[in-house]
Each structure stands twice: as C-alpha cells, then as structure tokens.
C-alpha cells in the first residue's frame, strides 16, 4: 500500500512538473471574479441568469487582452470583501469606488470608471443639494460611497440614515414614501430612476469625482499589474470606448493614469 501511494505521488509530481514546464502557471488558473449582480447597468442578471453589464464587459475585455481566464460569481455586496479576504474570489469588479479606507485593506487597479454621487428624490421635492437633506430621511446601500457621504454629512450613527442591502431596495423605499431621498452612484441611480415616473434625480455639483477600480487582495501585485496592463490595452485600442458607449450612451471621460 505504502509503495503504491509513493509511486502514485511520484507520477503526480512528475506530471505536475511537466505541465508547469509546458504552459505558464498564470494561463492555467481561472480567476474568480466577484460581482454583486443587482447593480444595473454595471452588473445584473439577465433573464438567462447570466451576469451582464458594463463591469462584466470591461473585465472580459481586460481578461482577453491580458491572456487570463476569468469566471464571474454573483456575490452580495455586503460580504464581497470578506469573500476576497478569505480567497473565495480573486478580484472584485462591482462598481467599487476607490477610497482611502479601502486602499488600506485592498489593492486597486487604475480607475476604469468615473463616478459621482447622485440624489434621487420624489418628483415634487424641493431638494437641490445634499445639505437640503438635513433632518430628512435618507436611504443608502450599507457600506457604499453613498453611505459614506450621508454619514459624513449627517453623522454615521444618525437615525435618519436608513441602510439597505441593494440599490433596488433603496429606490423601492423611496418610491413607497419611506424616505425623502436616496443616495448612490450616478450610473445606477440614473438607470433606476428612469424606471419610476414619480422620482427624479438631483445632481449636486459639489459632490467629488470618484473612480471605480478593480480590487484584489492586498499584496497581490502580480494580478493587479496583469489587470492594469489589460485595462491600458483596451483603453488604447478603443475597446473601452465602445463598451462605454454601449452602456451609457455617451462618450467616455479621460481616466487618470497611475
């Protein structure tokens, strides 16, 4: 028995060496991409249960250029970084805003999308900027940039901030009259508000420009560099602009270089 096991492991070791020699290890590995598919037009499930959207097209184009294989897994946003930490997923492409706090715990690629926070309010509302929401009830997605903006402006333990799991829920809460406003990323809020005739968006010009990046585990420089190379390539050859026009019906802004 012992001899057979040893012989078997020898064969396996030789086989492993042989494969390693023939193709580079990176090409063999399929990277698991976590994305919260409740975030149209960035990532959502279509009727065929496939995850589609801007984020999906971008990561697929990057993967094609960088010569890596990726597999998308629908991961709820609230636990997405925990999944990255414990290795369930290798990278996160889910409309993740790059900010200082996240930079301390994860590594980001160069930006792939320019975003701003947008307010959604009832069509009859007189709100014109963030400060008008003082003392009013605001719905945000837990841990999102909208949550940050509201927490900073009105206090992170304020009872006026109502946190939900997904963007559809904050829009539903707003449409049902449970809150006076919802705050979220421009792309998603604009998309959702179009579905509700009783709502409108309010663009507060004072909101800072933000950028979406692809997050990898801290220290995974190899993967980050591979992704950066792929991203630079799709921006250079116009693939990025084509994807951008498909989803946002407008010309892409110039993204900052590292």
């Amino acid at each position: 028995m012992t001899i057979r096991v040893r012989a078997l492991s020898c064969v396996l070791a030789v086989a492993a060496l042989a494969t390693a020699g023939v193709v580079p290890a990176a090409a063999q590995r399929t990277y698991v991409v976590g994305s919260s598919a409740t975030y149209p037009p960035f990532a959502y499930e279509n009727a065929q249960k496939q995850i589609v959207g801007f984020d999906v097209d971008v990561i697929n184009a990057i993967a094609a250029k960088a010569g890596i294989r990726v597999r998308l897994v629908n991961t709820p946003f609230v636990g997405i970084f925990a999944s990255l930490n414990n290795g369930d997923i290798d990278l996160v492409v889910s409309g993740v805003t790059i900010n200082e706090r996240r930079r301390q715990s994860y590594d980001f690629t160069t930006p792939y999308f320019e975003a701003r926070q947008l307010l959604a309010v009832p069509a009859s509302s007189t709100v014109t900027r963030l400060q008008d929401l003082a003392g009013k009830k605001i719905a945000v997605v837990t841990g999102s940039t909208g949550d940050d903006v509201a927490s900073k402006a009105f206090g992170k333990t304020s009872a006026n901030i109502r946190r939900f799991d997904t963007t559809p829920l904050i829009i539903a809460e707003l449409a049902n009259g449970g809150v006076d406003a919802a705050i979220g990323d421009n792309g998603v809020i604009a998309y959702r508000v179009r579905e509700h005739k009783t709502l409108k968006t309010v663009d507060d010009a004072s909101m800072a420009k933000e950028y979406f990046g692809i997050a990898v585990k801290q220290g995974n420089a190899a993967l980050r560099d591979t992704l950066n190379k792929g991203l630079a390539a799709i921006i250079a050859d116009g693939t990025y602009a084509t994807i951008y026009r498909t989803w946002f019906k407008s010309e892409p802004p110039t993204l900052p270089k590292p």
Binding site: V78, F81, A82, N85, E100, R101, R102, S105, K137, A139, T142, G143, S144, D147, D148, S151, K156, T157, A159, R162, R163, F164, D165, L169, A172, E173, N176, G177, G178, V179, D180, T198
Partner: protein, 257 residues
Amino acid sequence: MDEPQILWFGWFRADIIKEYEPLFWEGLRMTVGVTVVCILLGTLLGLLLGLARLADARSPVARVLTRVLLRWPATVYVSFFRGTPLFVQILLMHFAVVPLFMNPADGWLISGDTARDLRQNYGAVITGIVSLSLNAGAYISEIFRAGIQSIDRGQTEAARSLGLSYGQAMYHVVLPQAFRRMLPPLGNNAIALLKDSSLVSAVGLGELAYAARTVAGAYSRYWEPYLTISVMYWLLTLLLAWGVRHLEVRYGRGDSR
C-alpha cells in the same frame, strides 16, 4: 479613522465598535422592544388561532359554520406562515403589503402626509412587529392546540357538567393546566423570536444586526461587529431562558408535592 486604534488581545479593533456605540445601544433597545411586543401579540394571536383550530359544535349547521369560518381559515393561515420563509414574509410585508395599505399616494387604509410620516418614522418597526407577530402566532397556535388537546377531555366534561360555560371551563380549568405544559415550548418560541428579529434589519430596522451590518459595511471587518452582537444576543437568550425556567418552577409548584 482619525481616532487611535484600540486593540484588544492584539486583534480585536475595539475602537470601531466604540465609534458606532450609539447604534449598538439603540439596536439593543430595539431588539428587546420588538421581541417583547411580538411575544405578547404572537401569544394572543396564537391563543385565538389555536382555539379556532379546535372549534367544534354539536348541531350539524353550526358544525359546518365553525369549519368554514374558523377551522379552515386558521389552518390555511398556519400552513402559510409556517410554510414560507420568515425572511420572504418580511420583504413581502415591507415592500408590497404595507405600501398597499399605507402609501402617501393611494393607500387603502392611510394615505397622504400621515402615511408618509408613519412610513418614514415607524415603517421598519411596523413591518417588524407585524411580520414577526403574524409568524410567531402561527407557531404559537400549534403550541396552544397541542397544550389544550393534552388535557384530558374529562376535565372539560366535568367542568361543563358543573354548569361552567365553554369559556369558563377553558379559562378556569383547561388553560391553567395546559399553560404549565406549554411553558417550555413557549420559551423556545420566545428565544427563536428574539433571534429572528435580526432578519428585520434587511428592511432598515435599526436593531442589533443592523448595527453590525453598518459597521461591517463601513470597515469591511467582520469579527468585531458580528462577535459583539453574538455576545449580546447570547446574553439576551440566556436571560430569557432563565426567566422561562423561573416561570416553570413557579407554575410547576402545584404538581410537585
């Protein structure tokens, strides 16, 4: 982020819990409040449903009526609320059923500014109390039914032959004895209710799980917030279990001689 990090045992970031401390205290208050209200409402509902499921009459006409008006609706009710996930019931209640009745635009029951005020200030609390009570009522009705059925028929017959009405026999003879037997399962149910209240955080009710979710969302750290509320829930259930045991001893006294 400006405050200095406080590390316990070298890994537990106590400072982030400290930073969100008001949310945890408010959460504790909300969890306890909702649980207490729902135990009371659920028990009342459970008693009524349990009696409805046992309803019977002697004359054929009345028997058919009790079946159609009491037994069957109660059976369907219990079957639905035990047969669908509580989480689904909560989302259905908050985003579909409650807006139907209470809506600033065209609520069936309440509309206009009253509806808006109610929804904004107490929306999640209303959803939480209604869905948890309705759900608990279904489970508790089964406890009542089993408890009442476990009392020998002779007890009712004896009480009725002494001239007590059905209600009097129930209230003075059957329920006091049944209650003693129902205490352990009722205690279990109360503990389950306490833990299930965490599900209402999904609709934005500021209870314990909501506090933990907020902290986890802000810091992407999971040990600190969830361990903290685990300990809080555990202490609450220990307290509840102790209370139930106390009641059992008190009401069990008649039996132990």
